[in-house]
C-alpha cells in the first residue's frame, strides 16, 4: 500500500544560550502544518516566547512510501539539540530522530510513537511515559523513565532502550513497561518500582530496587552495594523476562522488605557475580 509520510527536518541554526522549552517539537503538534506555520510555532526561552524558526531551519515535505501509517509525521533534528528541552513530550504517534544529543525531559509523558537519539539524552528522558519507544544510542542523565519529583507514579508502559549508561533513579516509581540499559547505572535504579521490568547489562552502584514492591530488575554486572531489604529466593536459569534478553544462571531475591511485609519485587543478579 502506498502511503504518504510527512517529513520534517529541523536544522539547528547555531549555539543556544538559555535552554529552550520545546514541547511543541512533537509529531502531534507538527501534523497538518506548513513550513511557514511550523516556523511560527512559539517556544519559551527563559522569560520570552520565540518562534521556532529562530533556532531551526525548517523544511517539510510529503514523501510517498510503501507500508502502513498513512499521514505519519517523521521529524529529523539534523544536529545537536542538547539545549532543547521537552522534545516529544506527550507525543502519541509518529517518529522523532535526533542526530545529535537531546536536552532534558525528552519524550516525557510520551504515550506512543518512537524517538531515536543518536548521541546522549539529558535527565528525565521518558519521565512518566505510558507507551511508545524511546531509544538512546549514547548515555542518559538521571531519572530516565522515572516519576516526576515528589510522586511515585512513574512510567506505566512503553520501552526505553539505552545503549550507553544511565545515571540515578532509572525507572523510579515504574509500574509497567520495560527499560533496558546496555551500560551501567548509578544509584537507586528501580526505586519504588511496582511493576514492569528493568534490565541493566552493566553494573549498578547501590540502592537497586530500594522500596520496590513489585516488578522485576535484572542486573547482569556487579552491584557494588546490595540493598539490605532483599531476601534470597533460590536460583533461576534464563529467567523469563522481557523478550529473552536475560540468559544464564541467576540468583533471585525478593524485596524490598524494608517497606512492605509482603513485597512482590524480584531482583535477579548473575550467579557468577554473587
Amino acid at each position: 500500500m502506498i502511503v504518504l509520510i510527512r517529513k520534517i527536518r529541523l536544522t539547528p541554526k547555531g549555539e543556544i544560550d538559555i535552554m529552550v522549552e520545546a514541547e511543541i517539537i512533537s509529531p502531534d503538534s507538527f501534523a497538518g502544518k506548513s513550513e511557514a506555520e511550523l516556523c511560527e510555532l512559539s517556544v519559551w526561552q527563559g522569560p520570552r516566547q520565540v518562534p521556532l524558526g529562530e533556532f531551526f531551519e525548517v523544511e517539510a515535505w510529503d514523501e510517498e512510501t510503501t507500508g502502513d501509517g498513512d499521514g505519519t509525521v517523521d521529524i529529523l533534528i539534523d544536529g545537536d539539540a542538547s539545549r532543547i528541552k521537552r522534545i516529544g513530550q506527550r507525543m502519541t504517534s509518529g517518529r522523532i530522530e535526533i542526530l545529535g544529543s537531546a536536552g532534558m525531559h525528552l519524550g516525557s509523558e510520551m504515550a506512543g510513537g518512537e524517538i531515536l537519539v543518536r548521541r546522549d539524552a539529558g535527565p528525565w528522558a521518558g519521565m512518566n511515559m505510558s507507551g511508545g519507544l524511546l531509544e538512546v544510542f549514547g548515555d542518559v542523565g538521571d531519572h530516565a523513565g522515572s516519576a516526576y519529583r515528589g510522586s511515585w507514579r512513574g512510567m506505566s508502559g512503553g520501552n526505553i532502550l539505552v545503549r550507553g549508561n544511565a545515571r540515578s533513579q532509572v525507572g523510579g516509581g515504574m509500574s509497567g513497561g520495560e527499560i533496558l540499559v546496555q551500560g551501567s547505572v548509578e544509584n537507586f535504579c528501580g526505586i519504588r518500582q511496582s511493576g514492569g521490568l528493568i534490565v541493566v547489562e552493566g553494573d549498578a552502584v547501590r540502592g537497586v530496587g530500594a522500596e520496590m514492591i513489585g516488578g522485576s530488575i535484572a542486573v547482569l554486572g556487579e552491584i557494588h552495594q546490595f540493598t539490605p531489604g532483599f531476601v534470597a529466593a533460590g536460583t533461576e536459569r534464563d529467567p523469563a523476562l522481557g523478550e529473552g534478553k536475560v540468559e544464564g544462571e541467576f540468583a533471585k531475591f525478593l524485596g524490598d522488605y524494608a517497606i512492605s511485609k509482603n513485597p512482590k519485587g524480584v531482583l535477579f543478579v548473575k550467579e557468577a557475580v554473587v
Binding site: A147, Y148, R149, G150, S151, R192, E211, I213, I259, S260
Partner: protein
C-alpha cells in the same frame, strides 16, 4: 471611589430576608447603599444582572490558606504543582499548585468563584509572622486568621488552676501580639500529649504534666471567648478526629459549652440587616465530617452523621462547617499532629511522605498527601458524611459549607459540593460511581432534601459571616455593608436542580465578582487586583491583670527558642490592617 448599580438581578440576601426578589443593588464609595442620588447614578457603573443570581461576596470561614503548614504542603508536593499551572497576565502573577496553590493563584481562584473573604483556619502563634507574610501576598481577598490555643502551656496552666481572668488577659495579649482574629482549639489536651507520643481519647483524661482535660480546655476557652466578647465563638477541632466512632465524643464536646452565653462586644459599625447579625453560637465546630464517624473500627465503619446532626438539631449554641470530601487529591494538614500520624499508618504501605512538627510551648502540626477515591469504601462514606452533616441539620443557620481545604478537598471543588447539596440526582449519580458503602453505610441515599439558592447563600456567605462575627460588614447587602457581590449565571426562574452540571459550571466561574464596588473578576478572568484587608482583634483587659500575666509569660519564655522581642508580629507585616476593638469600655456597655 467605586459607585455601581447592579440592576434587575435575582437577589439572595438571607441576612436581609431577600429570597430571589428582583431588586437593584446600589454601591456608593465601595459600600452598599439604600439608593443613589441622581448625581451618583449618572457616574455609576451599571451592570445588568437580568436573569442572573446575585449574592453577597462569598465568605470562607475555614480554609488552610496561609502559614507554615500550608507552605510545608507546597514544599513536599512538587507533583501537586506540575500539572496545575497558571500563566501570568498583564495584571496578575503566574502560579501553580492544585491542592495547595501558591498564594497568588489561591487569591485569583477564590475570587473568580465569587469569594471575597477567606479566613485561615489555624495560625500557630510562633508561625504568625509566616502566616501574615503569606496573607499579605494573597491578592484580592480580605483575610484573618484564628490563633491555635488549645494546647498552649500558659493557657493549660491557667485553665487547670481555674484562673479564667488571667487566661482571658493572656488571650487578649496574644491576639494583639500576633494580629489574630479568633480562638482556635485543636484536639484540646491531646496535641500536648503527642509531644510524648501519646494522645487523649476522652474529655476527662488529664494530659501529661499539665493534668488538664479536654473538657477544661474547651469550657475555659469558651468562657474566655465570651468574657472578652470576641467576634467569633470558640472554633473547635474536636478530639479523636479521624477515628471510627468519634461522633460520640464530638457530641459530648459540643455539650461542654451549652451553658456559655454568646456575647459579642465589638467596637464596629454594624451595617443594616433585617436579621440579628450577632452570632448565636458559643462553639463553632470545624469540619464535622472528620468528627462524625460511626462504627468501632474500619471494618464496621459507618457514618455517624445522624447521631451528630440530631444533637445539632436540638442544640441552639452550635454551628458546624462540614469539611466535605469531593474526591480526588487532597493534602491533609492540621494542628492535630497525632491525627496525621494515624492517617500515615492507615494509608497502608509505609514510606508515604508526611511531616510532623512540634510547635514548642504552643501546639503541633502535621501534613500528609492523601487521595480520596470513589472506589474506596472509607472515602465513599466520608463523601456521604460530608453531605449528611449539612442536609440532616434542619436549620441552615447552624451550618456552613467547606471542604476544610485542602483536607477533605480543594476549595475549587466548592461548586461540585453545591451541586450535591442542591440536586438529589447529582448525589445519586455520584453514589452510583462510588463504592456501595457510600449509600449503604449512611443515610444519604434516603435524603430527599435539595437546598435552594437561598440556603446555599446562607451556607456560603450569610451564616459564615454571622458565625465568625463579620456580619457587621460581610455576607449581606444591607446598607453600609462592604460592596462585595457575586453574580452567577443562574436564572432562578429556569433553575433545574436535575441539571447539576450547570450548577457546577455556574458556581465555578462567577459572571462578575465585585469587591468594594469594583469588578475584580469577570467570567473566570481576573480583571483587577486590589489588596485585601487583614482583620484582627484588639481585646481590652485590665492593665494590672496584663502585667501579672506578663510576669508568667516572661518566666516561661526561657523555654522558647526565640527571644521575647522577636515574638510579636510587627505592624509592617500587615497591609490594610483592620483592628477590631473588643471589650473596650464603650463596647462592653453596648454588648447585647
Amino acid at each position: 471611589m467605586p459607585t455601581m448599580v447592579i440592576k434587575n438581578g435575582s437577589v439572595f440576601d438571607p441576612l436581609n430576608g431577600i429570597d430571589g426578589e428582583v431588586i437593584d443593588v446600589f454601591i456608593k464609595d465601595g459600600k452598599v447603599a439604600k439608593d443613589l442620588s441622581s448625581a451618583d447614578l449618572a457616574r455609576a457603573e451599571v451592570i445588568d444582572a437580568r436573569g442572573k443570581t446575585v449574592m453577597p461576596g462569598g465568605v470562607d470561614s475555614h480554609a488552610h490558606v496561609a502559614g507554615a503548614k500550608v507552605n510545608a504542603g507546597r514544599l513536599m508536593r512538587p507533583e501537586d504543582h506540575i500539572g496545575s499551572v497558571r500563566q501570568r497576565t498583564g495584571i496578575s502573577h503566574s502560579g501553580s499548585g492544585y491542592t495547595v496553590p501558591s498564594v497568588y493563584k489561591q487569591g485569583y481562584d477564590y475570587s473568580t468563584m465569587g469569594y471575597t473573604t477567606v479566613f485561615e483556619a489555624a495560625m500557630p502563634p510562633l508561625e504568625a509572622r509566616h502566616t501574615h507574610e503569606e496573607m499579605r501576598s494573597t491578592p484580592m481577598l480580605d483575610m484573618g486568621a484564628y490563633l491555635v490555643l488549645g494546647n498552649n502551656w500558659f493557657l493549660m496552666r491557667y485553665l487547670h488552676e481555674g484562673e479564667i481572668d488571667k487566661a482571658a488577659a493572656y488571650v487578649a495579649w496574644m491576639m494583639k501580639t500576633h494580629k489574630a482574629y479568633g480562638i482556635k482549639c485543636v484536639n484540646p489536651a491531646g496535641v500536648e500529649n503527642w509531644g510524648w507520643g501519646k494522645n487523649v481519647h476522652s474529655l476527662d483524661e488529664p494530659n501529661i504534666h499539665f493534668e488538664v482535660t479536654a473538657r477544661e480546655v474547651i469550657r475555659g476557652l469558651a468562657e474566655v471567648n465570651e468574657r472578652l466578647g470576641m467576634p467569633i465563638s470558640l472554633h473547635l477541632h474536636a478530639n479523636n478526629l479521624g477515628h471510627p466512632g468519634n461522633a460520640e465524643i464530638t457530641k459530648e464536646s459540643l455539650a461542654v459549652t451549652a451553658g456559655v452565653s454568646p456575647y459579642q462586644k465589638m467596637g464596629v459599625e454594624w451595617a443594616e440587616t433585617r436579621m440579628d447579625p450577632h452570632r448565636a453560637q458559643s462553639v463553632y465546630l470545624a469540619h464535622a465530617q472528620f468528627n462524625a464517624f460511626g462504627g468501632t473500627s474500619w471494618r464496621d465503619f459507618e457514618s455517624g452523621a445522624e447521631v451528630l446532626a440530631k444533637y445539632v438539631n436540638r442544640a441552639d449554641h452550635v454551628v458546624i462547617d462540614n469539611g466535605a470530601v469531593p474526591f480526588g487529591p487532597a493534602t491533609c494538614m492540621t494542628g492535630d499532629g497525632p491525627s496525621i500520624h494515624d492517617l500515615y499508618v492507615l494509608a497502608g504501605i509505609g514510606g508515604q511522605k508526611w511531616s510532623n512538627t512540634d510547635v514548642e510551648l504552643e501546639c503541633g502540626s502535621g501534613v500528609i498527601p492523601f487521595t480520596y477515591l470513589k472506589g474506596n469504601p472509607i472515602s465513599a462514606i466520608q463523601w456521604a458524611i460530608g453531605l449528611e452533616m449539612l442536609l440532616l441539620v434542619d436549620d441552615p443557620w447552624k451550618t456552613i459549607m467547606t471542604t476544610d481545604h485542602p483536607n477533605g478537598g480543594v476549595f475549587t471543588q466548592y461548586p461540585q459540593v453545591i451541586a450535591w447539596l442542591m440536586s438529589r440526582r447529582a448525589r445519586d449519580a455520584t453514589a452510583a460511581e462510588c463504592h456501595k458503602w457510600g449509600y449503604d453505610r449512611s443515610t444519604l441515599g434516603g435524603v430527599e432534601r435539595e437546598m435552594s439558592l437561598f440556603e446555599i447563600a446562607i451556607l456560603t456567605r450569610a451564616n459564615t459571616s454571622r458565625t465568625i462575627g463579620m456580619a457587621h460588614r460581610k455576607g449581606h447587602l444591607g446598607a453600609g455593608a462592604d460592596g462585595d457581590v457575586a453574580i452567577y449565571n443562574i436564572d432562578p426562574e429556569r433553575f433545574n436542580p436535575d441539571d447539576y452540571a450547570e450548577i457546577v459550571r455556574a458556581f465555578g466561574k462567577a459572571d462578575f465578582t465585585i469587591k468594594d464596588g469594583m469588578i475584580v473578576a469577570r467570567q473566570g478572568e481576573v480583571v483587577a487586583v486590589p489588596d485585601g484587608r487583614r482583620y484582627y482583634c484588639e481585646p481590652k483587659v485590665d492593665e494590672g491583670l496584663t502585667r501579672d500575666v506578663m510576669v508568667d509569660v516572661k518566666e516561661w519564655f526561657k523555654y522558647y527558642t526565640i527571644g521575647f522581642a522577636n515574638y510579636p508580629v510587627p505592624d509592617k507585616y500587615l497591609r490594610n490592617p483592620v483592628p477590631i476593638v473588643v471589650n473596650g469600655p464603650a463596647e462592653a456597655q453596648e454588648g447585647r
